[in-house]
């Protein structure tokens, strides 16, 4: 996916079908071959499914990392081991400042006075997430993401039982909210979004003990179970947009290989942000290999579920060496 297309989808743009001239000759050829070989490919796909054992390799790795990071915060305080002090909004790792990019932005806009420590911590985290993939933060670190994943399985169970249905919001909402919260911080001098931030509330509740603010978290989990699948992470949370933009040039990507794909769409069913996976729809991929865009949280659910290895993790510039 081109950087421009990746950014467009991140900012809430609608998915569009590629024009004829967008396809590389190679991609055109693969699409053509697949069309001609329909019967054989169907048999092959069935064979693939028989052999593929749906494991949770990446999900388990990710949960392990997410729990480990948050546990390190908790234990650093509880056991006083002082490795990772603070909360997800700002912390010190072995004494070195780390500041959450969205919180830093809110504080800078509200306070209009920037300290060296804040700059050091923000710059470090910025570089870290450019390298690691931006929204990777969402699915590999944010503790609300894990709660939301559990709520999501409940939601999907209820959808399956036809008890609830999923209602989508316009994806441009997140961009509007991002701008409005930035403007509010600047105009009012209060870090308004921090009051609502589920990431901050859950992180502090884990470390410093629960409070009434968890009711706000519960409210969102209920919305996500009964009204709209993953509503907060998909349509509302400006933190996701901040990290998404940071991750635009990232070398860590989920890669797509057109040739391996049977276009069955299992990946899109498990995806938090299915609009980034439009390229897996039959006839949509414009190149033989593609990157999934910046809105992708690199959660790896699609990689786990793909029976043919068409989706995989890659580190650009390093994959050759690995």
């Amino acid at each position: 996916m081109s950087l421009r297309e990746s950014a467009r989808l991140l900012l809430g743009g609608e998915v569009r079908k590629p024009a004829a001239e967008d396809y590389t000759p190679g991609a055109r050829q693969v699409h053509e071959l697949k069309r001609m070989d329909g019967v054989n490919r169907k048999a092959l796909a069935e064979e693939m499914h028989k052999q593929h054992r749906h494991t949770h390799t990446w999900r388990n790795r990710r949960w392990a990392v997410l729990i480990a990071v948050n546990l390190l915060f908790v234990l650093s305080f509880w056991l006083d081991i002082q490795i990772l002090e603070g909360a997800l909004t700002a912390s010190r790792f072995l004494g070195f400042h780390l500041i959450d990019l969205n919180s830093a932005l809110q504080v800078m806009l509200a306070h209009k006075h920037i300290l060296v420590n804040l700059v050091i911590g923000t710059a470090t985290v910025f570089v870290l997430w450019v390298l690691l993939g931006g929204r990777t933060y969402c699915s590999w670190v944010c503790p609300y993401h894990l709660l939301a994943e559990w709520a999501e399985s409940l939601h999907l169970y209820l959808v399956d039982k036809k008890k609830v249905s999923d209602r989508a919001f316009h994806r441009g909402l997140r961009v509007v909210l991002w701008l409005l919260f930035a403007a509010l911080a600047f105009a009012t001098g209060y870090t308004v979004f921090e009051t609502l931030s589920l990431t901050g509330i859950v992180s502090r509740a884990l470390i410093y003990g629960p409070g009434l603010a968890l009711l706000w978290v519960l409210f969102w989990l209920l919305i996500e179970v009964f009204y709209s699948r993953r509503a907060w992470c998909r349509y509302f949370c400006p933190i996701g947009l901040t990290y998404g933009v940071v991750g635009l040039p990232s070398p860590v990507q989920v890669g797509y290989r057109l040739e391996h794909c049977f276009h069955e769409g299992d990946c899109r069913k498990v995806c938090l942000v299915p609009h980034v996976l439009e390229c897996v729809i039959k006839g949509r991929a414009t190149a033989e290999t593609m990157d999934i865009g910046a809105d992708c949280t690199r959660c790896g659910l699609c990689v786990d579920v793909c029976p043919s290895g068409a989706l995989h993790f890659e580190v650009k510039g390093l994959s050759k060496w690995l």
Partner: protein, 268 residues
């Protein structure tokens, strides 16, 4: 409905409407955080070195690093009812005051954003009455080469709010633990352990005239007992008071006769 799925344009219209309503609701929820401030119900005592309230709330990143370094766990984080103060630190002096047993005001050192600061930037709001006339002398460090605390402003000031309850003013003494059974606040006593605060109630008192506020005060010259015309005595707060709240914590009457007025300056 299932047989008559909404048209694509209709779906898009609904997505847009939901976004409009949902976004509006979230902004309204954000706006609601302003209410507790507008109605001024809560005037929390902020940690030492805190900027003036508006600047403090703007700059605090709600990470709790100050909470983590406090040796007596005096700092608590604001909750839902505090509006924009959610996650911002405050001190409930009656429950656990700041006794400066860290010697160096560690919470200021821990703050990554300058919401707590040793030296305020010049352009930032300062009310004159908040400035301390001189660096406060910490009694625990009185004999050290550098006996002062690196603190330029007070966070509040002590006031004898309920003089009729004050034991000294009635000529009464105090025997036993300062607070009721089950109280779990900590205080450093130099004659017990220079480096480690102990539970306040593990240090019983036996005084003919109650002077607990004076004898527990960690700051030199901040409070003293002065004679009254009727022959009894009364605690008098002096200019060096930084507003740490130890007197309020140690006061044996219920409720405390002496309290901290958060964010109030010194008025001679």
């Amino acid at each position: 409905m299932a047989s008559n799925l909404p048209h694509k344009a209709e779906q898009a219209r609904r997505r847009f409407l939901r976004a409009l309503i949902g976004g509006g609701a979230l902004l309204a929820a954000g706006g609601a955080g302003w209410l507790p401030l507008a109605y001024g119900g809560k005037t929390h005592l902020r940690p030492p070195g805190a900027l003036e309230e508006d600047d403090f709330l703007a700059s605090c990143i709600k990470c709790g690093q100050c909470v983590q370094v406090c040796p007596v766990s005096a700092l608590k984080l604001g909750d839902l009812g505090d509006g924009y103060g959610v996650g911002a630190p405050y001190i409930d002096a009656r429950a656990q005051a700041c006794d400066f047993s860290c010697d160096a005001v560690q919470c200021i050192l821990a703050c990554p954003t300058g919401a707590l600061t040793y030296t305020k930037p010049e352009h930032m709001d300062t009310r004159g009455a908040m400035r301390l006339a001189a660096a406060p002398i910490l009694l625990a460090k009185e004999k050290d080469p550098e006996p002062t605390l690196n603190l330029k402003e007070r966070i509040g000031v002590a006031r004898l709010a309920r003089p009729d309850l004050c034991l000294a003013r009635q000529g009464k003494g105090w025997k036993g633990a300062a607070r009721a059974a089950g109280y779990d606040g900590y205080l450093r006593f130099m004659d017990v352990d220079r480096w480690r605060p102990i539970p306040l109630n593990d240090h019983p008192f036996d005084v003919p005239v109650c002077d607990l506020c004076v004898r527990t005060c960690p700051i030199k010259g901040a409070i003293s007992l002065e004679p009254l015309a009727n022959g009894f005595k009364t605690p008098v707060v002096h200019e060096p008071c930084v507003g740490c709240g130890v007197c309020e914590m140690a006061c044996p009457t219920e409720p405390a006769a002496i309290v901290i007025d958060p964010r109030r300056g010194w008025e001679a």
